[in-house]
């Protein structure tokens, strides 16, 4: 039986008191999460990602559209019948129950006999590396441990779909990195279809098979982490994931797989990606795709406007033709950063540039 | 914020200042109903220019409070309540003698031998029955003390606590003097089965009977009229044919009270024709022969009275109440 999740034209409208305010939280979202894969819903707060997750869980009813798990339409199924398990941002551990009872809760609800329940809870504790803590109360555990209990509690009922609602946002930075690897490891080992909500792009990048970028209730782009990063389809996606320089330009000619784009600084030949002459575009230059050269060398000439020293790397702002470009330079040991005012040359490979449609000038 | 505080400070200052202004203030406890007190006090204030600050309490409560305050009397006058309570007060040493100058004779049973209290009205104990109740239950109004024990009246009678209410203590003392002490308590035990509840105030049962919350109130005739039929309640008044007790309503001056001279003026006023006439509004029988009796008020010659010994009743008060509490258990 397939446990793929399919969303069809989901729409959610929240009505304010007396119909005074209407908020469209989710707008026409369709998505397929393949069986056993982990898909991340990524976006700024208020983009609708959590609402989508809650509609999958059954905590919110869609205004329009349908939710499927496998071939089963579950739109009208109550939350407790869906066999989805959610890991909450606040963990949602029952403060009045021990770790054992927290993890065993779902099995007890399903009336699993005591000996079997016990065995399964203990082996689950083993799996998440918490053996021996079963008699403690959640308040006696550290944040990371609580997170593991929440995970164990979600996994033990063998859900068809695992849902994560920003599960790591209450942990400190180091633990967060460690936990996300652990979650990924467990998910891949157990092959559970998972939907993961976060606003942290690093988390999304490291965890996901597929990333779904959401903005204002709509899906902006779906793709693998690499696709999302290197070939963003909208200005929003490009800006949200990583840093970038956006140069306004217009396609002047298309020649095979390359487009000739005119920008203030001159003309560039960039992989066309379906654009046609006269299209208004943004040219995306990732900071790490730009290199600095001695003055006089390179495609463009500019001056260092500012430098930010970050230990392993340096970010420069380089003034080129009235525009500041952000340039990331891996910092070679022992070298002194360039000072503001220094003239420099700018080098990059035209093939690494990427075009994004520019609106308002169709 | 600052402004608010200033205003509050001014109010506070004013509050403390008010008692100081106007030296002529008489303090009293009254056992009369609030509504009745309002009939007399403003008239006294008008006549004499003396301001009165008063608290209404049932007469048993007045006595209790005066005893509690004996070291530090707060008032100068105890106004109203049956003489036996005033006699008990004399015994407790809370009153001081004053013989008002009168151009008429107060009967001997209407003042203390030493003038520790003076009487100013007469009233007899009677029964007030709710006419609707009688009609519905198909029973006649009670006309004897024994009638009150009828099963038909079960849970229908209201009376006050003898220890808080002078009215109710008058009933107890009457029964004791009529039947002898032991018989009287036996009687009350039987009566207790018919009693719905006890009130603090002696006249409270009247309105309750008027409302129909109870069927029968045992109270003074003037209260039965003033708070019953005169107000429009369907109250039928009857008296026990064996004879009934009565009160001489009294006034005591309080020993060590703060305003002895004003207190004397009040006693003089209360016995004046003008003040005695005011009592028509409450159907009390005035003692001043020149005063007029309200139409419908019950005079001493209209009912059969027992030979009530108020002095004995007053002297026995503490003992009888103690016994009543332990035997009736209220």
């Amino acid at each position: 039986m397939s446990n793929a999740v399919r969303l069809e034209n989901l729409r959610k409208v929240f009505e304010g008191r007396g119909g005074s305010s209407r908020v469209v939280a989710v707008d026409d979202v369709s998505l397929e999460v393949k069986d056993g894969s982990l898909v991340t819903l990524l976006g700024p707060s208020g983009c609708g990602k959590t609402t989508v997750l809650r509609m999958i869980a059954g905590f919110e009813a869609p205004t329009e559209g349908d939710v499927f798990i496998g071939d089963e339409r579950i739109t009208a199924l109550p939350a407790n019948k869906r066999r989805t398990s959610m890991v909450f941002q606040s963990y949602g551990l029952f403060p009045h129950m021990t770790v054992f009872n927290n993890i065993g809760y779902g099995l007890r609800i399903r009336k699993v006999p005591a000996p079997e329940l016990r065995a399964r809870v203990l082996s689950m504790l083993e799996l998440v590396g918490l053996a021996g803590t079963e008699a403690r109360l959640p308040s006696q555990l550290s944040g990371g441990q609580q997170q593991r209990v929440a995970l164990a509690r979600a996994l033990i009922t063998e859900p068809r779909v695992l849902l994560f609602d920003e599960p790591l946002s209450n942990l400190d930075a180091k633990l967060r990195v460690q936990m996300r690897l652990e979650i990924r490891r467990l998910q891949q080992r157990l092959q559970i279809t998972s939907v993961y909500v976060t606003h942290d792009q690093d988390e999304a990048m490291t965890l996901s098979d597929q990333i779904v970028i959401m903005h204002q209730g709509r899906i902006q782009q779906v793709g693998s982490p690499q696709e999302i990063y290197s070939r963003p389809r909208t200005l929003f996606v490009a800006d949200f994931i990583g840093k970038g320089n956006f140069l306004a330009g217009t396609v002047r000619a298309v020649d095979g797989d390359r487009a000739e784009v005119e920008i203030t600084q001159g003309r560039l030949r960039i992989p066309a990606g379906g654009f046609r002459p006269a299209d208004a575009v943004w040219v995306l230059l990732r900071p790490e795709a730009i290199g600095l050269a001695p003055a006089g060398v390179g495609r463009w000439q500019g001056r260092i406007a500012a430098a930010t020293y970050l230990g392993s790397e340096i970010f420069y702002e380089v003034a080129v033709g009235g525009q500041n470009l952000l340039v990331k330079v891996g910092h070679p040991q022992g070298a002194t950063p360039l000072e503001a005012g220094n003239p420099v040359g700018v080098v990059f490979d035209e093939g690494s540039l990427h075009l994004i449609p520019r609106e308002g000038t169709a | 914020m600052r402004h608010t505080l200033t205003v509050l400070a001014i109010v506070a200052a004013a509050a403390w200042a008010i008692p100081v202004q106007g030296a002529q203030v008489l303090h009293m406890y009254t056992a009369l109903d609030t509504a009745e007190t309002q009939l007399y006090i403003p008239e006294f204030e008008k006549d004499t220019g003396i301001k009165v600050e008063w608290v209404r309490l049932s007469s048993g409560e007045v006595l209790a409070r005066l005893r509690a305050e004996a070291k530090n009397p707060q008032v100068s006058v105890w106004y109203g309540g049956p003489s036996q309570d005033h006699i008990a007060g004399k015994k407790a040493g809370i009153s001081t003698p004053y013989k008002p100058p009168l151009d008429w004779t107060l009967p001997a049973n209407a003042h203390d031998v030493d003038w520790h209290w003076v009487g100013y009205y007469f009233g007899a104990i009677g029964f007030g029955s709710n006419a609707d109740f009688l009609k519905k239950a198909g029973v006649p109004a009670p006309t004897s003390w024994d009638d009150l024990l009828k099963p038909a009246y079960k849970g229908q009678i209201a009376i006050a606590f003898p220890y808080t209410s002078g009215t109710s203590y008058t009933v107890l003392a009457t029964l004791v003097q009529m039947m002898g002490e032991d018989k009287a308590f036996e009687y009350w035990k039987k009566l207790h089965a018919n009693i719905h509840h006890y009130d603090k105030s002696g006249s409270a049962p009247v309105t309750q009977a008027g409302l129909g919350e109870v069927g029968i109130a045992v109270s003074f005739s003037h209260d039965l009229i003033a708070k019953g039929s005169a107000k429009g309640y369907p109250i039928a008044m009857t008296f026990p044919r064996e004879g009934t007790g009565y009160e001489i309503g009294g006034i005591s001056l309080i020993k060590g009270g703060p305003e002895p001279e004003l207190a004397k003026k009040f006693v003089d006023w209360a016995l004046s024709v003008r003040a005695q006439n005011l009592m028509q509004q409450w159907f009390r029988i005035p003692l001043n022969p020149k005063a007029e009796v309200a139409k419908g008020a019950v005079r001493a010659d209209q009912v059969k009275l027992i030979n009530f010994d108020a002095v004995k009743a007053g002297d026995d008060r503490d003992r009888l109440i103690k016994r009543w509490r332990s035997e009736i258990g209220q």
Partner: protein, 553 residues
């Protein structure tokens, strides 16, 4: 020692602590001590014979059982109704939430005995319901336990409601969602998560309501019939029988279960709580199924209907010429409120407006000292100042007449004794408001002021006070309501010079002057609402001006 030296370096702080400590001793501890002393000392010797005499007699013992039974029943019924409203509003998303919330808090501001009055008008032998619905064939027997459970449940369930609403709103919605998500039905969610998490709140509410019922005086004195309770008996012993020893002993007996419940609540139940009530409600995201919602809605509607019916009857009663005999409408009772009741009204307003701000300021100062300062006896100060909240008014009132009837503390008959009683009865309200407000303020703000050279007093006045002003005003508002509706303690200390409207109403009800009493009560409620409204407007303005300040800054 070190602490002491630190405090001595700040004379204003030291003086404040000293004055408050002395006042608390004089006006809280000493009266209680006098009550206790009166019950065990006779002719200068220690004796227990007052207790022996009392406990010997079945009719003196009965009120003890009666009070406990009544307290237990009211605690259970009131908590149940309070939980119903809290759950319906916080978790079930029923319609008319604001309205229910309003209704569920309204009885707090009404004088205690108004409900008894209403109960008689409705369910007495000649009550509206008794006559109209049952043609007098059925007597609801409201004089006694039944009636008292009814009116005290309505009178005190708001407390339970507020406690439970705080708890339910503080429960992380993720807990219930987790449970549902793990396969629990909505009922299982309630049984395994919501209810267990509410248990400490329920226990708290049971204890508080038990205490409130034991301490209630206004309702039983009107409605108890022959079902005597301790508070009224203690009162009758003193005012009716001049039996100070017996009254004091009954007061001490009343004090025991009350204090036990209070201490249990303060030191045990509150520690068992799983949720922290932060005052920041988390939005309930999970609702109940439509059937349950409808059921809860109907139940709330039923209780609301009853409450409206009770108050509505009082309103109607206040316009009736002669209740029970003549139902022609009239406004003469309102005219007499100002004629007969004018001086009561004036006295009550003056005393309340003197006592209220002092209470508020004292409460804030104590709250500030307790939350922010370290000094010897701090815990004791905290406990003592909260004590008057738990001690039944009857006990306090008896203590005041015993303690302040002799030189040099001769206060009986003065306005001062009533004001002092108001202040020390209500100061816990101010303290609670202050503590709650202070705990939300980052101490760093005050530390910054101290750091810039301000002393304790200056920091308090210039920094702390402005920040806690809204809490100060809500403390004031509630304190004012309690002054205006107080009866159980002040009934012992009112005098001819200073009389109170509540006492006057009680007299009217006792005399069964129902319509008059109803009119007085309505005027009293109207005044309370008016003042609350004014304070609300005041607070609103303060909050707005603060916002303006922030925006400008």
């Amino acid at each position: 020692m070190n602490e002491l030296r630190k405090i001595l370096r700040e004379p204003v702080l030291a003086a404040a602590i000293g004055v408050i400590a002395v006042s608390l001793f004089l006006f809280v501890i000493y009266p209680l001590f006098k009550v206790f002393q009166m019950s065990v000392v006779e002719d200068g010797r220690f004796t227990l014979h007052v207790y022996r005499d009392l406990l010997d007699k079945p009719f003196e013992r009965r009120p003890i059982y009666n009070s406990l039974i009544l307290g237990a029943l009211v605690a259970v019924a009131g908590t149940a109704v309070g939980y119903l409203f809290a759950f319906a509003i916080a978790r079930a998303d029923v319609p008319w939430k604001r309205f229910f919330r309003l209704i569920a808090t309204f009885p707090i501001i009404s004088p205690p005995f108004v409900l008894s009055l209403a109960a008689i008008l409705l369910l007495g032998r000649k009550g509206f319901i008794t006559r109209m619905l049952f043609q007098g064939q059925w007597d609801p027997h409201i004089y006694g336990l039944r009636g008292l459970v009814l009116v005290e449940t309505i009178a005190f369930f708001p407390t339970a409601f507020l406690i439970m609403l705080g708890i339910l709103q503080a429960i992380d919605p993720a807990l219930e969602e987790s449970s549902l998500n793990l396969g629990a039905t909505r009922w299982q969610v309630f049984r395994t998560v919501t209810l267990p998490l509410s248990v400490p709140g329920l226990a708290s509410s049971l204890l508080v309501l038990f205490v409130e019922s034991l301490a209630d005086f206004g309702n039983p004195i009107i409605l108890s019939g022959n079902f005597h309770v301790l508070s009224v008996q203690a009162y009758l012993h003193i005012t009716g029988m001049v039996d100070f020893g017996g009254g004091a002993a009954l007061a001490v007996i009343l004090l025991f279960p009350t204090l036990a419940a209070f201490l249990l609540q303060k030191y045990w139940v509150s520690r068992k709580s799983y949720v922290t009530v932060t005052g920041k409600p988390s939005p309930a995201r999970l609702s109940v199924d439509p059937f349950t919602r409808r059921l809860l809605f109907v139940l709330c509607l039923g209780v609301t209907g009853l409450i409206l019916l009770l108050y509505g009857t009082v309103i109607f009663g206040s316009f009736v010429t002669l209740w029970g005999a003549n139902y022609t409408l009239t406004i003469k009772h309102y005219a007499s409120v100002f004629h007969i009741g004018g001086r009561y009204l004036r006295d009550t307003l003056i005393l309340a407006s003197v006592a209220t701000p002092i209470t508020g300021i004292l409460g804030m100062v104590i709250a500030f000292l307790v939350v922010r300062k370290q000094f010897v006896g701090k815990g004791l100060m905290d406990l003592t100042s909260m004590l008057t909240f738990a001690v039944p008014g009857t006990v306090v009132g008896i203590g005041y007449i015993l303690a302040f009837n002799e030189r040099p503390l001769l206060l009986t008959g003065t306005a001062a004794i009533i004001v002092l009683l108001f202040i020390f009865r209500n100061v816990p309200v101010g303290i609670r408001a202050g503590v709650a407000a202070l705990q939300q303020i980052d101490p760093a703000i005050e530390e910054a002021a101290t750091n810039l050279g301000a002393g304790s007093a200056r920091t308090f006045v210039t920094i702390t006070l402005p920040l806690i002003t809204p809490a100060f005003f809500s403390g004031l508002a509630y304190g004012f309501v309690r002054c205006m509706t107080a009866i159980s303690a002040v009934i012992f200390v009112v005098s001819g010079r200073w009389n109170l409207i509540t006492i006057a109403i009680l007299g009217l009800v006792e005399n069964a002057d129902m319509s008059q009493a109803a009119a007085f009560s309505m005027v009293l409620i109207a005044i309370v609402l008016l003042v609350l409204g004014l304070i609300q407007v005041g607070v609103g303005r303060v909050a707005t001006s603060q916002m303006g300040y922030e925006a400008a800054g």
